[in-house]
Symmetry: C2
């Protein structure tokens, strides 16, 4: 069970083997620590020393966030599960599991891009030029997926090749996305440092939000955020975040950004020029944060999950799937691939 | 600066960029977070959410202990230093730095054993039989040190060989130690699982205390405790603890245990038989914990350090030396070797 503490002024103390949660005069039912998988602290919450030591005893990590941005993790030592998970993660960097995971993350990135293109293909079936562009892009991306799938060499040797193929597929994707956006935005493919147009600015901002959520899930699963498989250290971001985020960026961010621009909710005066780049201004940030929060908090039906689920549930589940694969419980890692609404 | 919070009831809150520390009516000078390297919580101390987020912002880890036994670490994300340290540690597992460190830890283990033998050689110069035994052991151990020093192959290939040579040296050491202890104790070399005599029981208990201190130092330095170089996962203990502890076990534990038995402070009725082994009873634990605490808290003059230092300072300094070596600030790692009183 996941415990999210999001009410300022909450006080958490220990009572036997349970947590007592108090907010003002309000007192909740005590929560048995053995039923908890992780605790996420989103705001000014005070957890007593005894409660923290009890959580540590049961191997329950606590992730401290400030506005959903993870700042630190309270990480128990000597918990059997964590020991084994980290050890297997380190080993996997240099055995077949590492290459398996790296390929799956790269393939997930591209398959999710295909899903987005297919989704817009259905919406834009009126325009045969656009249909051709989308179909060509899908063929090109599928081709890169196959090439990645066929790689079978040590990760150290092929990481750059996989990254290169994924990059080529991504380029085809964004070249097609260009035609799915109002032309006046000047979007001409993905460019990060710095973003030079409103679409790139919005994508970068949105991805940062997804990285935060992914880090929470990774820390909660007991994985080491810095030991990624596909990505290596880039701009100081823990690489496993970049790996796993590939499964959620398109589904959660790209779709939101495309929709906001096409509906003209996001437009020119929501951006500002700054230090050689284009960035969202406060008004723009508010619009995008709100739209993304709505998406992140809305339960939806997605493939591989029963019933309607919150996207955060999907992210946490995928981090746990990495663990299940590393521990040999699952014989392969199944990335999340969005399959249209 | 290291902040150790060891008074029950202490409350830590944020004030600007400083920590306010309150104990009852007593209020201390605020502490600037930028001057802190780590915080160690030893007892019921309450740290506010805002104070924790401030510590995270400055990359200051907080280690939560219960009676000096580390239970969990509060580990900041996205702190530049930590990112780089962990990344380099992971890389080092598979490059020349890994073999360098593994060799140094093994050599430190053996050199420290030689130091102990030399120390007792001076005390027992009356008995020529014992002198011969000690001298023979020193020669044998020196021989293993040289063999380890000459190894120069990838770590994966030679880890077991280094461990084997270290094990042989340790065996020679404990065979000589046998003659430095009262014969009635039945000590006949190191045997762990389970300890079958009072000396082994005391060594195991003492080493566990050193492991705790070493874990605190490792966590404080931002190193990943599970990614050791010489040791691999054994009985669920993070392997880097086992590596680094090799530098402190003899100096701090072996000497204390030998002295307590030779002075007959530790004796038969401080032990009990339990589940096929011999263990310290509560009376025995109290004696050993007290003796070790005295040693751990007493400032002493040791080689490589200026002035008199607390052994915990040495342990923390060595963990930082690992970091300095991993980051390339130091061109080699210099293990701690005790050189007699």
């Amino acid at each position: 069970m996941l415990l999210i503490l999001d009410k300022p002024g909450t006080y958490v103390s220990k009572e036997g083997r349970t947590l007592r949660i108090k907010l003002g005069k309000e007192k909740m039912e005590p929560i048995a620590v053995k039923n908890l998988s992780e605790v996420i602290v989103l705001t000014k919450v005070n957890i007593s020393y005894d409660a923290l030591i009890l959580l540590a005893k049961y191997g329950v990590p606590v992730i401290f966030c400030s506005r959903w941005e993870p700042k630190a993790v309270f990480h128990p030592f000597f918990h059997h599960g964590t020991v084994i998970t980290r050890r297997e993660q380190m080993k996997a960097l240099y055995d077949k599991r590492g290459i398996h995971l790296a390929k799956k993350f790269a393939i997930a990135s591209l398959e999710n891009k295909i899903s987005i293109l297919r989704y817009y293909r259905n919406l834009r079936s009126d325009n045969s030029d656009i249909l051709d562009i989308i179909d060509d892009a899908i063929i090109e991306i599928k081709n890169r997926v196959e090439m990645i799938d066929n790689i079978d060499e040590p990760l150290d040797k092929v990481r750059m090749r996989i990254m290169g193929l994924e990059g080529e597929g991504a380029q085809k994707y964004f070249s097609a996305i260009k035609y799915l956006l109002p032309g006046e935005l000047g979007f001409n493919g993905r460019y990060r440092r710095p973003p030079l147009d409103p679409v790139n600015a919005s994508l970068s901002f949105g991805y940062a939000i997804i990285y935060s959520r992914t880090l929470i899930a990774i820390a909660a699963a007991g994985l080491e955020p810095y030991a990624g498989f596909l990505h290596t250290d880039r701009s100081g971001k823990p690489s496993l975040i970049l790996d796993l985020s590939e499964e959620f960026k398109q589904w959660l961010v790209d779709r939101t950004v495309l929709s906001l621009f096409n509906k003209r909710v996001l437009k020119g005066d929501f951006f500002e020029k700054r230090s050689g780049g284009i960035y969202l201004n406060d008004k723009g940030k508010k619009v995008l944060v709100e739209a993304l929060s709505n998406r992140l908090n809305k339960k939806v039906k997605v493939s591989q999950f029963k019933g309607k689920v919150n996207p955060m549930t999907v992210i946490i589940a995928q981090a746990r799937r990495i663990v299940r694969y590393l521990l040999g419980i699952d014989s392969e890692y199944r990335p999340f691939i969005w399959e249209g609404r």
